[in-house]
C-alpha cells in the first residue's frame, strides 16, 4: 500500500469499503472506518509532526512509517484524533532496532505487540487502567492497539501466511493496549523506572506471547511470590529459551499486600527471579541443545541437569506493571525474548 499517492474512489457505502479493504488485505478481519481525506486530515491535525516525516522503517516489508501512513491506519482502526500522538510514539518505539520488529513480525512464534501508557495521557485520553483493562470495552485501548497492528500489516507487510509466518498467532494480535493504574499503585510508576519523569506521558511497547491469570488470595507476601514464581516456570516459553524477561501485570490489591509488607519492586523482582528458575533437566534434550546452550552458556557456564535457568538475564529483567480493578488476579505475560521493551515519551502533541 502506498497511501501517500493513492486515492481510491468507492461507492458511498460502509459495506463497499469493508469489502474492498478485505479484498486488499488491508484490515484485520473486522470492519474499518473509511479513511476519507477529511478524517485523515483530522487525525493529522492532532500531531505537530510533518505528514511526510518517517517514524522509522517497518520490517519485513521495509515500509516507511510516514506520519501520513500511520494516520490512515489509525483512522481505519477507529482512533479518535487525540489518540494519534500515542500511536506515533508507539510506532517509533517499535522501530528502535533493539525491539527487533523484523524478528517478531516474521517469526513462527505467536508473538503479539503489547503496549501501555503512563502519565497524564492516561486520564486525558481516557485509557482504561482498571476493570477489564486488558479486555474489551474501551475505545482508546482497543483502537490504539488495533492501529498498531494495522500499521504492522499495511506498512510492515506482516500479512498472515505471507510475511507474517506465525504458526497460530494469538488473540492479542488484534489489539493489546492498556494503561498502568498509577492511582492505585503503591509503587513508583513503570515509566519512572525506565528513566522518565513522573509527570511525563510515555508509551511502553513489548513483545509478548499471551497472558496467564494467577488467582491468589494469600496476604502473605512470601506465599504470594512463591505461587507467582511457580506459575512462571513454563519451560516452553521464550523467557527461558531467549533470556526473557517477562511482564507481570499486578493487581493493585496484590501490589498493596507486597508493599505493605515492605516489599519494594526490586525485592519482588529479586525473589521472583530466584524462585522461578527451572533446572535444565526439565527441558527436552532438543531444547537444551538448540536453545539453552547457545543462549545461556556465556552467563551460566556449561549446563548440567541441575543448572538453574532464570526467566531473564537479571532480576531487573522482570517487568512489573500495576493495572486492573479490584480483586486478586495478577497476570503473567511471557515475553518473546529476543526483543527489548521500549519506553518513549509522547511528544508530538499539537503546538
Amino acid at each position: 500500500m502506498t497511501p501517500e499517492s493513492e486515492m481510491i474512489e468507492l461507492p458511498d457505502s460502509i459495506d463497499a469499503v469493508y469489502d474492498y479493504v478485505t479484498e486488499q488485505r488491508w484490515g484485520d478481519g473486522f470492519p474499518v472506518i473509511p479513511a476519507t481525506p477529511k478524517r485523515v486530515a483530522a487525525m493529522l491535525s492532532a500531531s505537530a509532526r510533518d505528514p511526510e516525516e518517517s517514524l522509522g522503517i517497518m520490517p519485513p516489508g521495509q515500509g516507511s512509517a510516514t506520519v501520513l501512513a500511520v494516520a490512515i491506519n489509525a483512522t481505519m482502526a477507529g482512533c479518535r484524533p487525540e489518540y494519534f500522538p500515542v500511536v506515533t510514539a508507539a510506532i517509533q518505539a517499535m522501530c528502535v532496532p533493539e525491539f527487533n520488529l523484523y524478528g517478531l513480525q516474521a517469526t513462527t512464534n505467536p508473538v503479539a505487540v503489547g503496549g501501555f501508557v503512563n502519565g497524564p495521557a492516561v486520564d486525558a485520553l481516557g485509557f482504561n487502567a482498571t476493570w477489564n483493562c486488558l479486555g474489551q470495552g474501551t475505545r482508546s485501548n482497543a483502537t490504539v492497539g488495533r492501529a498498531i497492528r494495522l500499521c504492522m500489516t499495511n506498512i510492515g507487510g506482516g500479512r498472515p501466511g505471507d510475511l507474517d509466518r506465525a504458526t497460530h498467532g494469538q488473540p492479542a494480535k488484534y489489539s493489546f493496549f492498556f494503561a498502568e493504574n498509577e492511582a492505585d499503585s503503591p509503587w513508583p510508576p513503570f515509566h519512572v523506572g525506565a528513566g522518565h519523569d513522573v509527570g511525563d506521558s510515555t508509551v511502553t511497547m513489548f513483545a509478548n506471547t499471551g497472558t496467564i491469570n494467577m488467582l491468589e488470595a494469600t496476604e502473605d507476601p512470601e506465599e504470594m511470590l512463591h505461587a507467582f514464581a511457580v506459575t512462571m516456570r513454563c519451560p516452553g516459553t521464550n523467557d527461558y529459551m531467549s533470556r526473557g524477561g517477562p511482564f507481570l501485570v499486578l493487581a493493585p490489591e496484590h501490589a498493596r499486600v507486597l508493599e505493605g509488607n515492605g516489599y519494594s519492586k526490586e525485592r519482588v523482582q529479586d525473589l521472583l527471579w530466584e524462585k522461578s528458575k527451572i533446572p535444565a533437566r526439565d527441558f527436552s534434550g532438543a531444547s537444551r541443545k538448540y536453545w539453552l546452550e547457545p543462549m545461556w552458556t556465556d552467563l551460566l557456564g556449561e549446563l548440567h541437569d541441575d543448572t538453574l535457568i532464570p526467566c531473564s538475564e537479571s532480576p531487573r529483567g522482570i517487568n512489573l506493571v500495576v493495572a486492573g480493578g479490584p480483586s486478586i488476579h495478577t497476570v503473567f505475560v511471557p515475553i518473546f525474548g529476543d526483543s527489548k521493551p521500549q519506553t518513549l515519551p509522547i511528544t508530538d502533541l499539537p503546538r
Binding site: 519485513p60 515500509g63 509466518r165 541443545k289
Partner: protein, 67 residues
C-alpha cells in the same frame, strides 16, 4: 544476481520461503534467486549447519549467475 561484482543467492528454509521472496521484493530484487532448504534451520548446531551447507553446495552452484 551480480551486484558490484559479488554473486548473490538468497538461502531460506522452506517455512520462510514466502518471507524470503517478499523481503527480496521489498528491497527491489524480485529476480534474486532463492535456494530453499529444509526447515528448521535456526536451531541447528554448527556441525549440522556445516553438513547442510556441504549437501546444498551443488544446488547452490546451479543458481550462481555466470559473469
Amino acid at each position: 544476481m551480480i551486484k558490484r561484482g559479488v554473486q548473490g543467492v538468497l538461502v531460506a528454509s522452506q517455512v520462510f520461503e514466502p518471507l524470503a521472496r517478499g523481503e527480496a521484493s521489498a528491497y527491489g530484487y524480485e529476480d534474486l534467486k532463492i535456494l530453499v532448504m529444509p526447515h528448521p534451520f535456526g536451531s541447528l548446531t554448527r556441525a549440522e549447519v556445516t553438513q547442510l551447507a556441504d549437501d546444498l553446495a551443488p544446488r547452490l552452484a546451479t543458481l550462481v549467475d555466470r559473469p
